[in-house]
Protein backbone atom coordinates (compact mmCIF):
# COMPACT_ATOMS: atom_id res chain seq x y z
CA UNK A 1 0.00 0.00 0.00
CA UNK A 2 2.73 2.45 0.99
CA UNK A 3 4.71 1.49 -2.04
CA UNK A 4 1.88 2.23 -4.40
CA UNK A 5 1.41 5.60 -2.69
CA UNK A 6 5.04 6.27 -3.47
CA UNK A 7 4.33 5.61 -7.12
CA UNK A 8 1.96 8.56 -7.15
CA UNK A 9 4.90 10.95 -6.69
CA UNK A 10 6.37 10.48 -10.19
CA UNK A 11 2.82 10.12 -11.51
CA UNK A 12 1.83 13.59 -10.35
CA UNK A 13 5.26 14.95 -11.17
CA UNK A 14 4.72 13.90 -14.79
CA UNK A 15 1.47 15.77 -15.00
CA UNK A 16 2.82 18.90 -13.34
CA UNK A 17 5.78 18.81 -15.70
CA UNK A 18 3.50 18.38 -18.71
CA UNK A 19 1.04 21.08 -17.72
CA UNK A 20 3.21 23.80 -16.21
CA UNK A 21 4.22 25.28 -19.58
CA UNK A 22 0.67 24.83 -20.84
CA UNK A 23 -0.66 26.80 -17.91
CA UNK A 24 1.83 29.56 -18.65
CA UNK A 25 0.75 29.64 -22.28
CA UNK A 26 -2.91 29.89 -21.39
CA UNK A 27 -2.42 32.58 -18.73
CA UNK A 28 -0.18 34.67 -20.97
CA UNK A 29 -2.69 34.43 -23.82
CA UNK A 30 -4.90 36.81 -21.82
CA UNK A 31 -2.07 39.28 -21.41
CA UNK A 32 -2.99 42.84 -22.31
CA UNK A 33 0.63 43.74 -23.00
CA UNK A 34 3.05 42.39 -25.56
CA UNK A 35 5.63 41.09 -23.13
CA UNK A 36 6.27 37.39 -22.92
CA UNK A 37 7.29 37.61 -19.29
CA UNK A 38 5.13 40.08 -17.41
CA UNK A 39 1.39 39.97 -17.15
CA UNK A 40 0.08 43.46 -17.69
CA UNK A 41 -3.61 42.90 -17.22
CA UNK A 42 -6.44 40.87 -18.68
CA UNK A 43 -7.40 41.24 -22.32
CA UNK A 44 -8.90 39.20 -25.11
CA UNK A 45 -7.24 41.20 -27.85
CA UNK A 46 -4.92 38.41 -28.94
CA UNK A 47 -7.89 36.18 -29.55
CA UNK A 48 -9.32 38.93 -31.70
CA UNK A 49 -6.12 39.11 -33.73
CA UNK A 50 -6.11 35.38 -34.08
CA UNK A 51 -9.69 35.29 -35.31
CA UNK A 52 -8.75 37.68 -38.09
CA UNK A 53 -5.73 35.64 -39.13
CA UNK A 54 -6.62 33.84 -42.32
CA UNK A 55 -3.35 31.95 -42.59
CA UNK A 56 -3.90 30.35 -39.22
CA UNK A 57 -7.43 29.34 -40.09
CA UNK A 58 -6.49 27.85 -43.47
CA UNK A 59 -3.50 26.18 -41.84
CA UNK A 60 -5.69 24.55 -39.24
CA UNK A 61 -8.08 23.17 -41.84
CA UNK A 62 -5.19 21.83 -43.93
CA UNK A 63 -3.56 20.26 -40.92
CA UNK A 64 -6.73 18.48 -39.88
CA UNK A 65 -7.23 17.13 -43.38
CA UNK A 66 -3.66 15.88 -43.58
CA UNK A 67 -3.82 14.31 -40.13
CA UNK A 68 -7.12 12.59 -40.83
CA UNK A 69 -6.02 11.25 -44.20
CA UNK A 70 -2.66 10.01 -43.06
CA UNK A 71 -4.12 8.44 -39.90
CA UNK A 72 -6.54 6.34 -41.92
CA UNK A 73 -3.84 5.04 -44.24
CA UNK A 74 -1.36 4.54 -41.41
CA UNK A 75 -3.80 2.73 -39.15
CA UNK A 76 -4.88 0.23 -41.78
CA UNK A 77 -1.40 -0.45 -43.13
CA UNK A 78 0.27 -0.33 -39.74
CA UNK A 79 -2.14 -2.79 -38.13
CA UNK A 80 -1.82 -5.27 -40.99
CA UNK A 81 1.92 -4.90 -40.86
CA UNK A 82 2.06 -5.47 -37.12
CA UNK A 83 0.01 -8.66 -37.37
CA UNK A 84 2.02 -9.85 -40.34
CA UNK A 85 5.29 -9.22 -38.56
CA UNK A 86 4.20 -10.82 -35.33
CA UNK A 87 2.42 -13.82 -36.75
CA UNK A 88 3.64 -14.54 -40.21
CA UNK A 89 7.34 -13.94 -40.34
CA UNK A 90 10.33 -14.03 -38.08
CA UNK A 91 12.50 -11.78 -40.14
CA UNK A 92 14.33 -9.26 -37.99
CA UNK A 93 15.22 -7.39 -41.13
CA UNK A 94 11.57 -6.74 -41.93
CA UNK A 95 11.01 -5.75 -38.33
CA UNK A 96 13.66 -3.11 -38.57
CA UNK A 97 12.59 -1.90 -42.00
CA UNK A 98 9.05 -1.44 -40.70
CA UNK A 99 10.28 0.72 -37.86
CA UNK A 100 12.66 2.73 -39.95
CA UNK A 101 10.34 5.60 -40.94
CA UNK A 102 9.91 6.36 -37.26
CA UNK A 103 13.65 6.43 -36.89
CA UNK A 104 14.85 8.44 -39.85
CA UNK A 105 15.66 12.07 -39.21
CA UNK A 106 12.84 14.14 -40.65
CA UNK A 107 15.16 16.27 -42.78
CA UNK A 108 16.42 13.16 -44.52
CA UNK A 109 12.94 11.81 -45.09
CA UNK A 110 11.67 15.20 -46.21
CA UNK A 111 14.42 15.84 -48.72
CA UNK A 112 14.42 12.22 -49.89
CA UNK A 113 10.70 12.41 -50.59
CA UNK A 114 11.07 15.78 -52.28
CA UNK A 115 13.65 14.31 -54.64
CA UNK A 116 11.47 11.25 -55.17
CA UNK A 117 8.34 13.23 -55.97
CA UNK A 118 10.40 15.35 -58.31
CA UNK A 119 11.65 12.25 -60.08
CA UNK A 120 8.23 10.76 -60.66
CA UNK A 121 7.16 14.20 -61.85
CA UNK A 122 4.25 14.52 -59.52
CA UNK A 123 2.94 17.92 -58.58
CA UNK A 124 3.14 18.41 -54.87
CA UNK A 125 0.29 19.38 -52.64
CA UNK A 126 -1.57 18.41 -49.52
CA UNK A 127 -1.93 14.87 -50.79
CA UNK A 128 1.83 14.39 -50.99
CA UNK A 129 2.05 15.45 -47.34
CA UNK A 130 -0.68 12.92 -46.51
CA UNK A 131 1.33 10.15 -48.17
CA UNK A 132 4.51 11.24 -46.42
CA UNK A 133 2.90 11.48 -43.00
CA UNK A 134 1.23 8.11 -43.47
CA UNK A 135 4.70 6.65 -43.88
CA UNK A 136 6.08 7.50 -40.47
CA UNK A 137 2.71 7.26 -38.76
CA UNK A 138 2.41 3.70 -40.06
CA UNK A 139 5.63 2.79 -38.29
CA UNK A 140 4.30 4.13 -35.01
CA UNK A 141 0.96 2.34 -35.38
CA UNK A 142 2.74 -0.90 -36.19
CA UNK A 143 4.99 -0.55 -33.18
CA UNK A 144 2.18 0.21 -30.75
CA UNK A 145 0.00 -2.60 -32.07
CA UNK A 146 2.91 -4.98 -31.84
CA UNK A 147 3.39 -4.11 -28.21
CA UNK A 148 -0.18 -5.27 -27.70
CA UNK A 149 0.39 -8.39 -29.78
CA UNK A 150 3.65 -9.38 -28.18
CA UNK A 151 3.07 -12.18 -25.74
CA UNK A 152 -0.68 -11.90 -26.12
CA UNK A 153 -2.55 -15.14 -26.01
CA UNK A 154 -2.32 -16.89 -29.36
CA UNK A 155 -4.33 -19.91 -28.29
CA UNK A 156 -7.57 -18.41 -29.52
CA UNK A 157 -6.08 -17.71 -32.92
CA UNK A 158 -4.67 -21.20 -33.08
CA UNK A 159 -7.98 -22.68 -32.11
CA UNK A 160 -9.64 -20.63 -34.80
CA UNK A 161 -7.20 -21.87 -37.40
CA UNK A 162 -7.45 -25.42 -36.18
CA UNK A 163 -11.15 -25.14 -36.73
CA UNK A 164 -10.40 -24.29 -40.33
CA UNK A 165 -10.86 -20.55 -40.38
CA UNK A 166 -8.64 -18.75 -42.89
CA UNK A 167 -6.15 -16.11 -41.79
CA UNK A 168 -8.46 -13.30 -42.80
CA UNK A 169 -11.41 -14.71 -40.86
CA UNK A 170 -9.20 -15.35 -37.86
CA UNK A 171 -7.92 -11.81 -38.09
CA UNK A 172 -11.36 -10.24 -38.34
CA UNK A 173 -13.03 -12.35 -35.68
CA UNK A 174 -10.30 -12.97 -33.14
CA UNK A 175 -7.21 -10.85 -33.55
CA UNK A 176 -8.78 -7.51 -34.42
CA UNK A 177 -11.09 -7.28 -31.39
CA UNK A 178 -8.20 -8.21 -29.12
CA UNK A 179 -6.07 -5.53 -30.69
CA UNK A 180 -8.66 -2.77 -30.59
CA UNK A 181 -7.12 -0.77 -27.73
CA UNK A 182 -3.70 -0.97 -29.37
CA UNK A 183 -5.13 0.17 -32.68
CA UNK A 184 -6.97 3.06 -31.06
CA UNK A 185 -3.79 4.08 -29.24
CA UNK A 186 -1.79 3.76 -32.45
CA UNK A 187 -4.27 5.81 -34.45
CA UNK A 188 -4.30 8.45 -31.74
CA UNK A 189 -0.53 8.58 -31.86
CA UNK A 190 -0.53 8.78 -35.66
CA UNK A 191 -3.03 11.62 -35.64
CA UNK A 192 -1.13 13.47 -32.94
CA UNK A 193 2.21 13.16 -34.69
CA UNK A 194 0.80 14.34 -37.98
CA UNK A 195 -0.80 17.37 -36.33
CA UNK A 196 2.60 18.42 -35.11
CA UNK A 197 4.88 17.56 -37.98
CA UNK A 198 6.40 20.36 -39.98
CA UNK A 199 9.77 19.46 -41.47
CA UNK A 200 8.48 16.81 -43.85
CA UNK A 201 5.36 18.83 -44.54
CA UNK A 202 7.47 21.83 -45.39
CA UNK A 203 9.38 19.97 -48.05
CA UNK A 204 6.52 18.01 -49.56
CA UNK A 205 3.68 20.51 -49.64
CA UNK A 206 4.67 22.22 -52.88
CA UNK A 207 2.59 25.24 -53.69
CA UNK A 208 -0.45 24.41 -51.60
CA UNK A 209 -1.29 26.58 -48.62
CA UNK A 210 0.79 25.62 -45.60
CA UNK A 211 -0.27 23.40 -42.73
CA UNK A 212 -0.58 24.94 -39.28
CA UNK A 213 2.85 23.86 -37.98
CA UNK A 214 4.48 25.58 -40.94
CA UNK A 215 2.52 28.74 -40.19
CA UNK A 216 3.47 28.53 -36.52
CA UNK A 217 7.10 27.95 -37.35
CA UNK A 218 7.30 31.23 -39.18
CA UNK A 219 5.43 32.99 -36.38
CA UNK A 220 7.67 31.55 -33.67
CA UNK A 221 10.89 32.25 -35.49
CA UNK A 222 10.26 35.93 -35.51
CA UNK A 223 9.68 36.33 -31.84
CA UNK A 224 6.98 35.69 -29.35
CA UNK A 225 3.68 37.28 -29.97
CA UNK A 226 0.93 36.56 -27.49
CA UNK A 227 -1.12 35.61 -30.54
CA UNK A 228 0.76 32.31 -30.45
CA UNK A 229 -0.28 31.82 -26.84
CA UNK A 230 -3.88 32.44 -27.80
CA UNK A 231 -3.53 29.91 -30.56
CA UNK A 232 -2.13 27.35 -28.12
CA UNK A 233 -5.05 27.93 -25.77
CA UNK A 234 -7.56 27.51 -28.58
CA UNK A 235 -5.89 24.36 -29.84
CA UNK A 236 -6.10 22.95 -26.33
CA UNK A 237 -9.75 23.87 -26.02
CA UNK A 238 -10.56 22.34 -29.41
CA UNK A 239 -8.75 19.11 -28.68
CA UNK A 240 -10.27 18.95 -25.24
CA UNK A 241 -13.75 19.28 -26.70
CA UNK A 242 -12.93 16.74 -29.37
CA UNK A 243 -11.79 14.32 -26.71
CA UNK A 244 -14.91 14.70 -24.64
CA UNK A 245 -17.08 14.34 -27.72
CA UNK A 246 -15.11 11.34 -28.81
CA UNK A 247 -15.19 9.69 -25.42
CA UNK A 248 -18.27 7.66 -26.26
CA UNK A 249 -16.46 6.32 -29.27
CA UNK A 250 -13.47 5.44 -27.16
CA UNK A 251 -15.71 3.67 -24.71
CA UNK A 252 -17.03 1.51 -27.51
CA UNK A 253 -13.46 0.81 -28.54
CA UNK A 254 -12.54 -0.13 -25.00
CA UNK A 255 -15.28 -2.68 -24.61
CA UNK A 256 -13.18 -5.37 -26.17
CA UNK A 257 -13.22 -8.96 -25.03
CA UNK A 258 -10.25 -9.19 -22.75
CA UNK A 259 -8.60 -12.52 -22.71
CA UNK A 260 -7.49 -12.26 -19.13
CA UNK A 261 -10.14 -10.19 -17.42
Amino acid sequence: MRRSKLLYVPFWASYVFLYLPIAVLVVMSFNAGESAYTFEGFSLKWYGELAGDERVRDGLVNTLMVAAGSTVIATVLGTLLAVGLARHTRSKLLDSVALMPAVLPDVVLGIGLLVFYGMVQSTLGLYSVVLAHALFAMAFVAAVVRTRLAGSDTSLEEASRDLGAGPVTTFMKITLPQLAPGIVAGALLAFTLSLDEFVIAFFTIGNDDPTLPIVIYSMVRFGVTPEINALAAILLLVSFTAVIAGQRLTKIGEREPRAQD
Binding site: H88, L114, G118, M119, G206, N207, Y217, R221, F222
Partner: protein
Protein backbone atom coordinates in the same frame (compact mmCIF):
# COMPACT_ATOMS: atom_id res chain seq x y z
CA UNK B 1 8.73 -21.30 -43.71
CA UNK B 2 7.62 -17.77 -44.12
CA UNK B 3 11.02 -16.67 -43.03
CA UNK B 4 12.79 -18.32 -45.94
CA UNK B 5 10.24 -16.83 -48.30
CA UNK B 6 11.13 -13.40 -47.19
CA UNK B 7 14.84 -13.91 -47.09
CA UNK B 8 14.47 -15.10 -50.64
CA UNK B 9 12.65 -11.93 -51.43
CA UNK B 10 15.54 -9.91 -50.12
CA UNK B 11 17.43 -9.94 -53.42
CA UNK B 12 14.32 -8.51 -55.05
CA UNK B 13 14.32 -5.67 -52.55
CA UNK B 14 17.98 -5.09 -53.22
CA UNK B 15 17.26 -5.04 -56.93
CA UNK B 16 14.67 -2.33 -56.42
CA UNK B 17 17.11 -0.31 -54.40
CA UNK B 18 19.82 -0.85 -57.01
CA UNK B 19 17.46 0.22 -59.73
CA UNK B 20 16.62 3.35 -57.81
CA UNK B 21 20.31 4.09 -57.46
CA UNK B 22 20.82 3.67 -61.16
CA UNK B 23 17.87 5.90 -61.96
CA UNK B 24 19.16 8.47 -59.52
CA UNK B 25 22.54 8.47 -61.16
CA UNK B 26 21.13 8.77 -64.67
CA UNK B 27 18.56 11.34 -63.70
CA UNK B 28 21.29 13.38 -62.11
CA UNK B 29 23.57 13.03 -65.09
CA UNK B 30 21.04 14.42 -67.47
CA UNK B 31 20.21 17.30 -65.20
CA UNK B 32 23.86 18.14 -64.68
CA UNK B 33 24.21 17.92 -68.45
CA UNK B 34 21.91 20.87 -68.82
CA UNK B 35 23.87 22.58 -66.11
CA UNK B 36 25.30 25.53 -67.94
CA UNK B 37 25.09 29.20 -67.29
CA UNK B 38 24.76 30.35 -70.85
CA UNK B 39 21.71 28.72 -72.32
CA UNK B 40 20.34 30.78 -75.17
CA UNK B 41 17.68 33.03 -73.71
CA UNK B 42 14.19 31.93 -74.46
CA UNK B 43 12.19 34.23 -76.64
CA UNK B 44 9.66 36.00 -74.50
CA UNK B 45 6.72 37.83 -75.92
CA UNK B 46 6.20 41.32 -74.53
CA UNK B 47 2.54 41.11 -75.39
CA UNK B 48 1.85 37.64 -74.03
CA UNK B 49 -1.62 37.08 -72.66
CA UNK B 50 -1.01 37.20 -68.91
CA UNK B 51 -4.51 36.02 -68.10
CA UNK B 52 -3.35 32.55 -69.13
CA UNK B 53 -0.40 32.66 -66.71
CA UNK B 54 -0.47 32.21 -62.98
CA UNK B 55 2.37 32.95 -60.65
CA UNK B 56 3.86 31.21 -57.65
CA UNK B 57 6.17 33.37 -55.58
CA UNK B 58 8.29 32.40 -52.59
CA UNK B 59 9.32 35.17 -50.23
CA UNK B 60 10.17 35.85 -46.58
CA UNK B 61 7.24 36.38 -44.27
CA UNK B 62 6.19 40.03 -44.08
CA UNK B 63 8.42 41.04 -46.97
CA UNK B 64 5.65 42.03 -49.36
CA UNK B 65 2.50 44.04 -48.73
CA UNK B 66 -0.33 41.76 -47.70
CA UNK B 67 -2.69 43.01 -50.33
CA UNK B 68 -0.07 42.61 -53.06
CA UNK B 69 -1.56 39.41 -54.47
CA UNK B 70 -4.96 41.02 -54.87
CA UNK B 71 -3.53 44.14 -56.47
CA UNK B 72 -1.32 42.19 -58.85
CA UNK B 73 -4.28 40.18 -59.98
CA UNK B 74 -6.26 43.28 -60.76
CA UNK B 75 -3.45 45.30 -62.23
CA UNK B 76 -1.60 42.71 -64.28
CA UNK B 77 -4.64 40.59 -65.03
CA UNK B 78 -2.75 37.38 -64.31
CA UNK B 79 -4.87 34.30 -63.85
CA UNK B 80 -3.74 33.71 -60.31
CA UNK B 81 -0.90 34.51 -57.94
CA UNK B 82 0.12 32.45 -54.98
CA UNK B 83 2.51 33.76 -52.36
CA UNK B 84 4.44 31.16 -50.40
CA UNK B 85 6.60 32.01 -47.46
CA UNK B 86 10.03 30.72 -46.60
CA UNK B 87 11.85 31.30 -43.35
CA UNK B 88 15.40 31.50 -44.60
CA UNK B 89 17.47 31.51 -47.74
CA UNK B 90 18.48 27.96 -46.92
CA UNK B 91 15.01 26.48 -46.92
CA UNK B 92 14.15 28.36 -50.10
CA UNK B 93 17.27 26.93 -51.74
CA UNK B 94 16.37 23.39 -50.74
CA UNK B 95 12.97 23.74 -52.32
CA UNK B 96 14.28 25.40 -55.45
CA UNK B 97 17.08 22.93 -56.08
CA UNK B 98 15.74 19.56 -54.96
CA UNK B 99 13.70 18.74 -58.01
CA UNK B 100 13.73 19.89 -61.59
CA UNK B 101 10.61 21.98 -61.32
CA UNK B 102 9.76 23.50 -57.98
CA UNK B 103 6.67 25.12 -59.44
CA UNK B 104 8.01 28.49 -58.32
CA UNK B 105 8.15 31.32 -60.84
CA UNK B 106 9.66 34.13 -58.81
CA UNK B 107 11.84 33.66 -55.75
CA UNK B 108 13.22 36.16 -53.27
CA UNK B 109 16.71 35.19 -52.09
CA UNK B 110 19.84 37.05 -50.99
CA UNK B 111 22.51 37.97 -53.53
CA UNK B 112 24.96 35.16 -53.00
CA UNK B 113 22.15 32.61 -53.18
CA UNK B 114 20.94 34.09 -56.46
CA UNK B 115 24.50 33.68 -57.66
CA UNK B 116 24.57 30.02 -56.61
CA UNK B 117 21.21 29.34 -58.28
CA UNK B 118 22.49 30.93 -61.45
CA UNK B 119 25.71 28.90 -61.35
CA UNK B 120 23.57 25.80 -61.22
CA UNK B 121 21.74 26.90 -64.34
CA UNK B 122 18.42 27.33 -62.58
CA UNK B 123 17.73 30.99 -63.35
CA UNK B 124 16.17 32.68 -66.33
CA UNK B 125 18.19 35.68 -67.50
CA UNK B 126 16.39 38.93 -66.81
CA UNK B 127 14.92 40.47 -69.94
CA UNK B 128 15.37 44.19 -69.29
CA UNK B 129 13.00 45.13 -72.10
CA UNK B 130 10.19 43.57 -70.10
CA UNK B 131 11.05 45.53 -66.96
CA UNK B 132 11.05 49.23 -67.85
CA UNK B 133 11.00 50.11 -64.16
CA UNK B 134 14.61 48.96 -63.87
CA UNK B 135 15.33 52.59 -64.73
CA UNK B 136 14.13 53.49 -61.21
CA UNK B 137 17.11 51.76 -59.59
CA UNK B 138 20.08 53.68 -58.24
CA UNK B 139 23.07 53.34 -60.58
CA UNK B 140 24.90 51.73 -57.64
CA UNK B 141 22.31 48.96 -57.62
CA UNK B 142 23.48 47.68 -60.99
CA UNK B 143 27.06 47.26 -59.81
CA UNK B 144 26.62 44.57 -57.18
CA UNK B 145 29.50 42.16 -57.18
CA UNK B 146 27.49 38.92 -57.15
CA UNK B 147 25.67 40.01 -60.35
CA UNK B 148 27.09 43.01 -62.17
CA UNK B 149 24.54 44.49 -64.52
CA UNK B 150 21.59 42.61 -63.00
CA UNK B 151 21.82 39.80 -65.55
CA UNK B 152 19.79 37.28 -63.58
CA UNK B 153 18.59 39.08 -60.47
CA UNK B 154 16.87 42.31 -59.55
CA UNK B 155 17.60 43.85 -56.13
CA UNK B 156 14.62 44.32 -53.84
CA UNK B 157 16.15 45.59 -50.60
CA UNK B 158 19.66 46.21 -49.36
CA UNK B 159 21.50 47.12 -46.24
CA UNK B 160 24.40 46.34 -43.99
CA UNK B 161 25.26 44.54 -40.77
CA UNK B 162 26.33 46.18 -37.56
CA UNK B 163 25.81 46.34 -33.83
CA UNK B 164 22.38 47.16 -32.51
CA UNK B 165 22.44 48.23 -28.84
CA UNK B 166 20.61 49.72 -25.89
CA UNK B 167 22.02 53.22 -25.57
CA UNK B 168 20.48 53.59 -22.09
CA UNK B 169 22.03 50.42 -20.67
CA UNK B 170 25.50 50.22 -22.21
CA UNK B 171 28.33 51.87 -20.28
CA UNK B 172 30.08 52.96 -23.47
CA UNK B 173 28.49 52.81 -26.90
CA UNK B 174 30.14 50.18 -29.13
CA UNK B 175 32.26 51.41 -32.02
CA UNK B 176 34.20 48.31 -32.94
CA UNK B 177 33.42 44.66 -33.65
CA UNK B 178 35.74 43.91 -30.74
CA UNK B 179 33.16 45.40 -28.39
CA UNK B 180 30.98 42.35 -28.96
CA UNK B 181 33.76 39.89 -29.73
CA UNK B 182 35.44 40.60 -26.41
CA UNK B 183 32.52 41.95 -24.44
CA UNK B 184 33.30 44.06 -21.34
CA UNK B 185 32.22 42.72 -17.95
CA UNK B 186 28.94 44.66 -17.92
CA UNK B 187 27.88 42.91 -21.11
CA UNK B 188 28.69 39.39 -19.92
CA UNK B 189 26.03 37.02 -21.35
CA UNK B 190 24.16 40.01 -22.74
CA UNK B 191 25.47 39.76 -26.28
CA UNK B 192 24.09 37.77 -29.21
CA UNK B 193 25.59 36.82 -32.56
CA UNK B 194 23.97 35.53 -35.71
CA UNK B 195 23.93 31.83 -36.57
CA UNK B 196 23.93 32.01 -40.34
CA UNK B 197 27.48 31.02 -41.04
CA UNK B 198 28.74 33.90 -43.19
CA UNK B 199 27.32 36.43 -40.73
CA UNK B 200 28.55 34.45 -37.77
CA UNK B 201 32.04 34.88 -39.16
CA UNK B 202 31.63 38.48 -40.33
CA UNK B 203 32.46 40.38 -37.07
CA UNK B 204 35.63 38.38 -36.46
CA UNK B 205 36.68 38.59 -40.10
CA UNK B 206 36.32 42.35 -40.11
CA UNK B 207 37.94 42.79 -36.70
CA UNK B 208 40.96 40.92 -38.03
CA UNK B 209 40.98 43.01 -41.18
CA UNK B 210 40.26 40.22 -43.68
CA UNK B 211 37.86 40.12 -46.60
CA UNK B 212 34.34 38.79 -45.94
CA UNK B 213 34.99 36.46 -48.85
CA UNK B 214 38.25 35.06 -47.54
CA UNK B 215 38.90 31.42 -48.29
CA UNK B 216 42.38 31.27 -46.78
CA UNK B 217 42.66 28.49 -44.23
CA UNK B 218 45.00 30.37 -41.89
CA UNK B 219 42.67 33.35 -41.80
CA UNK B 220 39.62 31.19 -41.16
CA UNK B 221 41.55 29.48 -38.39
CA UNK B 222 42.19 32.87 -36.71
CA UNK B 223 38.53 33.74 -37.09
CA UNK B 224 37.61 30.46 -35.45
CA UNK B 225 39.87 31.11 -32.48
CA UNK B 226 38.36 34.52 -31.94
CA UNK B 227 34.81 33.16 -32.11
CA UNK B 228 35.60 30.27 -29.77
CA UNK B 229 37.02 32.68 -27.22
CA UNK B 230 33.87 34.78 -27.49
CA UNK B 231 31.39 31.91 -27.09
CA UNK B 232 31.42 31.57 -23.27
CA UNK B 233 30.47 35.23 -22.95
CA UNK B 234 27.49 35.06 -25.29
CA UNK B 235 23.85 34.87 -24.32
CA UNK B 236 23.00 32.92 -27.44
CA UNK B 237 23.26 32.75 -31.22
CA UNK B 238 20.19 34.31 -32.75
CA UNK B 239 19.20 35.27 -36.28
CA UNK B 240 15.65 36.34 -35.88
CA UNK B 241 14.65 37.61 -32.45
CA UNK B 242 17.61 39.74 -31.41
CA UNK B 243 15.47 42.86 -31.68
CA UNK B 244 13.02 41.55 -29.08
CA UNK B 245 15.90 40.64 -26.82
CA UNK B 246 17.14 44.21 -26.89
CA UNK B 247 13.69 45.59 -26.20
CA UNK B 248 13.24 43.27 -23.22
CA UNK B 249 16.70 44.10 -21.92
CA UNK B 250 17.74 40.44 -22.09
CA UNK B 251 20.57 41.54 -24.39
CA UNK B 252 22.47 44.82 -24.51
CA UNK B 253 24.39 44.49 -27.77
CA UNK B 254 23.53 42.26 -30.71
CA UNK B 255 24.92 41.64 -34.16
CA UNK B 256 22.09 42.78 -36.44
CA UNK B 257 21.03 43.58 -39.95
CA UNK B 258 20.14 47.25 -40.09
CA UNK B 259 16.53 46.66 -41.13
CA UNK B 260 15.96 44.44 -38.10
CA UNK B 261 17.37 46.80 -35.52
CA UNK B 262 14.31 48.47 -33.97
CA UNK B 263 15.81 51.97 -33.88
CA UNK B 264 12.39 53.52 -34.39
CA UNK B 265 11.10 52.06 -31.14
CA UNK B 266 9.24 54.71 -29.14
CA UNK B 267 11.70 54.51 -26.24
CA UNK B 268 14.39 55.96 -28.48
CA UNK B 269 16.94 53.82 -26.66
CA UNK B 270 17.87 51.51 -29.50
CA UNK B 271 20.80 52.58 -31.62
CA UNK B 272 22.67 51.05 -34.53
CA UNK B 273 26.31 51.42 -35.47
CA UNK B 274 28.40 50.14 -38.33
CA UNK B 275 31.69 49.29 -36.60
CA UNK B 276 34.77 51.19 -37.70
CA UNK B 277 36.43 48.07 -39.15
CA UNK B 278 33.73 47.99 -41.83
CA UNK B 279 31.00 45.58 -42.68
CA UNK B 280 29.13 43.96 -45.53
CA UNK B 281 26.57 45.02 -48.09
CA UNK B 282 23.74 42.55 -48.30
CA UNK B 283 21.14 42.55 -51.02
CA UNK B 284 17.88 40.63 -51.18
CA UNK B 285 16.94 39.98 -54.76
CA UNK B 286 14.16 38.75 -56.99
CA UNK B 287 14.96 35.99 -59.48
CA UNK B 288 12.97 34.13 -62.12
CA UNK B 289 13.31 30.38 -62.29
CA UNK B 290 14.27 28.82 -65.60
CA UNK B 291 11.63 26.15 -65.03
CA UNK B 292 8.90 28.78 -64.86
CA UNK B 293 6.19 28.47 -67.48
CA UNK B 294 4.96 31.97 -66.78
CA UNK B 295 8.02 34.03 -67.53
CA UNK B 296 6.20 36.98 -69.05
CA UNK B 297 4.00 37.26 -65.98
CA UNK B 298 7.09 36.88 -63.77
CA UNK B 299 8.76 39.82 -65.49
CA UNK B 300 5.56 41.81 -65.22
CA UNK B 301 5.43 41.11 -61.49
CA UNK B 302 9.01 42.30 -60.96
CA UNK B 303 8.27 45.38 -63.01
CA UNK B 304 5.21 46.02 -60.88
CA UNK B 305 7.18 45.69 -57.65
CA UNK B 306 9.75 48.19 -58.93
CA UNK B 307 6.99 50.74 -59.28
CA UNK B 308 7.95 53.55 -56.86
CA UNK B 309 4.64 53.41 -55.04
CA UNK B 310 4.80 49.65 -54.51
CA UNK B 311 8.50 49.46 -53.78
CA UNK B 312 8.45 52.25 -51.20
CA UNK B 313 6.16 50.06 -49.10
CA UNK B 314 9.18 48.09 -47.87
CA UNK B 315 10.95 51.23 -46.71
CA UNK B 316 7.86 52.68 -45.07
CA UNK B 317 6.59 49.54 -43.41
CA UNK B 318 9.45 47.19 -42.68
CA UNK B 319 12.30 49.70 -42.44
CA UNK B 320 14.34 48.28 -45.26
CA UNK B 321 16.18 50.49 -47.64
CA UNK B 322 15.20 49.76 -51.23
CA UNK B 323 17.67 50.25 -54.09
CA UNK B 324 15.02 52.21 -55.96
CA UNK B 325 15.72 55.93 -56.21
CA UNK B 326 12.23 56.86 -57.32
CA UNK B 327 10.80 54.91 -54.40
CA UNK B 328 13.20 56.30 -51.78
CA UNK B 329 12.45 59.83 -52.93
CA UNK B 330 8.86 59.32 -51.84
CA UNK B 331 9.79 58.13 -48.36
CA UNK B 332 9.84 60.49 -45.39
CA UNK B 333 12.77 59.45 -43.28
CA UNK B 334 12.02 59.60 -39.59
CA UNK B 335 14.36 60.62 -36.80
CA UNK B 336 16.73 57.79 -35.89
CA UNK B 337 15.71 55.76 -38.89
CA UNK B 338 18.43 53.86 -40.66
CA UNK B 339 16.83 54.52 -44.01
CA UNK B 340 19.08 57.55 -44.31
CA UNK B 341 22.18 55.47 -45.06
CA UNK B 342 23.02 56.45 -48.64
CA UNK B 343 23.78 54.03 -51.49
CA UNK B 344 27.33 55.36 -51.61
CA UNK B 345 27.81 54.58 -47.92
CA UNK B 346 26.31 51.14 -48.42
CA UNK B 347 28.74 50.41 -51.21
CA UNK B 348 31.58 50.82 -48.70
CA UNK B 349 30.45 47.47 -47.40
CA UNK B 350 31.79 44.36 -49.01
CA UNK B 351 29.29 42.07 -50.77
CA UNK B 352 29.24 38.50 -49.62
CA UNK B 353 29.52 36.23 -52.64
CA UNK B 354 29.18 32.47 -52.89
CA UNK B 355 32.65 30.98 -52.72
CA UNK B 356 31.94 27.73 -54.52
CA UNK B 357 33.91 24.86 -52.97
CA UNK B 358 35.35 27.11 -50.29
CA UNK B 359 31.91 27.96 -48.93
CA UNK B 360 31.83 24.63 -47.10
CA UNK B 361 34.74 25.94 -45.02
CA UNK B 362 32.27 28.31 -43.40
CA UNK B 363 29.86 25.50 -42.58
CA UNK B 364 32.73 23.70 -40.99
CA UNK B 365 33.73 26.85 -39.12
CA UNK B 366 30.29 27.35 -37.64
CA UNK B 367 30.00 23.68 -36.68
CA UNK B 368 33.39 23.97 -35.00
CA UNK B 369 32.33 27.03 -33.07
CA UNK B 370 28.91 25.76 -32.09
CA UNK B 371 29.93 22.27 -31.04
CA UNK B 372 31.90 23.08 -27.97
Amino acid sequence: MSRTRFTRRLPATMAVVGLALAVAACGGESSSGSNSTTVAAEQLKPNADLSKQSLAVTVWDGYLPEELAQRVKEKLKVQDIKIQLHETNETAMAKLTASGDSGIDVAFVSGQYAQALNEQGLLEPIHPELIPNLANLYPEATQLSYDKGNKYSVPYTWGTTGICYRSDLVKTPPTSWNDILKPPAWAEKKVTMMTTERWLALPAIKALGYSVNTDKDDEIEKVKELLMAQKPHLLTYDDTTFGDRLLSGEALMVEAWDGWCPTTDKSGNIKFVVPKEGSDLWVDTMVIMKSSKNKEAAHALINYILDPEVHSWAAENINYKVPNKAAMDRVKIAEGSLLGISPAELLNGESIIDLGEASTKYTRLSADVQAK
